[in-house]
Amino acid sequence: MKITFPHMGKTYLPVKAMFDDLGVEFVVPPKNSKKTLEIGTKYSPELICLPMKINLGNYIESIEKGADTIIVTGSCGPCRYGYFVEVEKEILKDLGYDAEFVVLEAPNGNKKEFFNRVSKVANTKNMMKIANALKNGIKVLRKLDRVEESILKLRPYEKNKGEMDQLYNALIKSLEKSTGTYQMAKVIDQTQENIESVKLDKNREILKVGIIGEIYTIIEDFANIDIGKKLNELGVAVHKSHTASGWIFEHLFYNNIGSTREKKVYKAANPYMKTMVGGHGRETIGNAILYAEEGYDGVIQVMPFTCMPEIVAMSLLPQIQNDKNIPILTLIIDEMTGEAGYVTRLEAYIDLLRNRRGKHKNEKMLSWR
């Protein structure tokens, strides 16, 4: 049995560490690239959203490298993600690939079946061993998320441009080589320290922007044209409302933990959206409001073309923009690889935020050029 899994941001690193701990054979899918997208688009239903196209591309590329079992997390959120596996199974079968899916979820709340599936993948019935690997894997993921969060926040301030990129690239390279969660955690801790000690120029006029929207396109930089880095280069500190570790928690443990942040988000969304609309529509609304209340300069919504929950959320954003007096930009992403159109919008949006902040500062308000 050779296991593979879809890409989502840098989750492949902790997953790799976990499998190393367990001694399971696996194939890391080749990095998301134009080729992945091309394969995925070719075999996916035309109007399906970008995440599925990329996932399918990942599977096919991995199968060609020898994988025969695909593990995916399940989802009970009523968005199309819940049907991905069923559709993908059929597509792969039609293409003549012989691959088995293991969906990590408890069908109809059947915990026993969930453990059966986990132990099948983990190649052991020793629950302690599995729990340990999982715990450590999530620890690595959290650390890695923290590194990325720090970079998005601090990079626009760095005195010598490129230092953080260098640290980060070196980190990824060494993580790709290291085995096991223990080793990875150590390397990440070191990088976290290094990043925090990069020389900063705190006098810069840096804007703050929060990213809301569909989780996959927020986390996977290949899908979102690396929006975090682009904004950093325009002098904007960025915070993403979704992280991979948060997602893993939510999906593996069925929401029953209900972090404090989550409750805050639902409470904030309440005046506009009282119920779940599928996917992360409610979180999008809640986070937009929280960012506005936390004094962010702007909020950018990112979503794949045809994403229903986000379309519902999008229709509420103009009202939030007015009520909370915060400009909100929506970027809809599909398989276009030409970035010029997005860059134009981002640049104009940042101009807009700068002018607003400038106006706020000196009430007299001079010309905005």
């Binding site: 080729k35 400009p327 599909d334 104009a348 101009d351 807009l352």
Partner: protein
């Protein structure tokens, strides 16, 4: 010697060049079609402008905008390379200081820009749809065999309303053909089309936005008087079309260049001679990773000026290669 500033807007359909003096008076404007060849068009435009200008004019600053702004900026040596949304906003403010809404319809895109108290407040730009942009009108004019300059005048002649579907260029076109085959007048159909495009614009871009007067209409399509009238009819306000409406982006770029060079002290302008140089663009697919980035290499007289298009920076940051000819 007169101090002047150059604004260049390299759009998908047209390339516009304007010359502005230190008092922000527009001395000359040029509007030529890009026809998919931005480099050739910029060269052609620059040499035309150069020949038309008085000899005592000196260029103190250059700004580029439009979708070809990076390419044009590198080629001409721009002091400012600015996105077209900001450039349009700045130009409009210069003509009508209390403008609150800017409607801009160009060849491939349309935008709505809202300003409050002279500050850019909100904007939207069409995303996936080309219905209602200049290219579509161009195509329909061609199909009906009416010169694009006359198209708007035809709409004004209309006496009765013919409703054309506006949601999508494909629907609009087939709807037009159906109505035409039913025997409706051409002017009524053209007017119906103008109104359909305006409806489409307001439904798409204007959704959830408060359109307040004064409203300015600019971009290439502003020359179409039929569309202007349709806007006025549907909005219920007067819609102003400023002088030089079709080159407003270039004017904004020039205004920004003036400000930038005042700060920087000198211009990076490479001179009108750039029009006489030979430019070559070579693109290749990078083979270092499966991303297969399409890297563009830009050379002036065989000397490499810049590279772009790569995600990782392997080529665009490669400074050593820039002077490979000198080494």
């Amino acid at each position: 010697m007169r101090k002047c500033y150059l604004g260049v807007d390299i759009g998908s359909v047209s390339t516009n060049i304007i010359v502005m003096d230190a008092d922000e008076q527009i001395l000359d404007t040029l509007y030529i079609r890009t026809q998919g060849k931005p480099i050739e068009t910029i060269k052609k435009g620059l040499s035309q402008i150069k020949n038309r200008l008085d000899k005592d004019i000196e260029i103190y600053g250059v700004g580029t905008t439009g979708s070809g702004r990076q390419l044009g900026g590198i080629m001409i040596g721009a002091d400012v390379i600015k996105n077209e949304i900001t450039a349009h906003g700045i130009a409009a403010l210069n003509f009508v200081p209390d403008v609150k809404t800017i409607i801009e319809i160009g060849g491939q895109d349309s935008k709505i820009i809202l300003l409050r108290d002279g500050v850019l407040y909100d904007f939207a730009m069409n995303t996936v749809c080309a219905a209602g942009t200049g290219s579509f009108i161009d195509r329909q004019a061609e199909r009906l065999d009416i010169p694009i300059e006359e198209f708007g005048k035809w709409a004004l002649k209309s006496k009765s309303t013919v409703r054309i579907a506006g949601r999508c260029a494909v629907f609009a076109e087939s709807d037009m053909i159906h109505k035409q085959q039913l025997g409706h007048n051409q002017e009524d159909i053209i007017n119906g089309l103008c109104e359909a495009l305006v409806r489409n614009y307001l439904n798409n871009l204007g959704k959830g936005k408060e359109i307040k007067s004064p409203v300015i209409f600019q971009g290439g399509v502003a020359a179409n008087i039929g569309i202007k009238r349709a806007f006025e009819k549907i909005l219920g306000y007067e819609v102003m079309v400023p002088p030089h409406a079709n080159v407003m982006g270039a004017i904004g770029a020039a205004l920004l260049a003036k400000e930038e060079t005042a700060k920087a002290g000198e211009s990076k302008f490479k001179g009108f001679e750039v029009a006489d140089s030979n430019y070559t663009v070579k693109s290749f697919e990078c083979e270092y990773c499966p991303n297969m980035c399409e890297v563009v290499e830009f050379r002036r007289d065989e000397k490499m000026v810049a590279r772009w298009g790569d995600k990782c920076g392997r080529w665009s940051h490669d400074k050593t290669a820039k002077d490979e000819k000198l080494a």
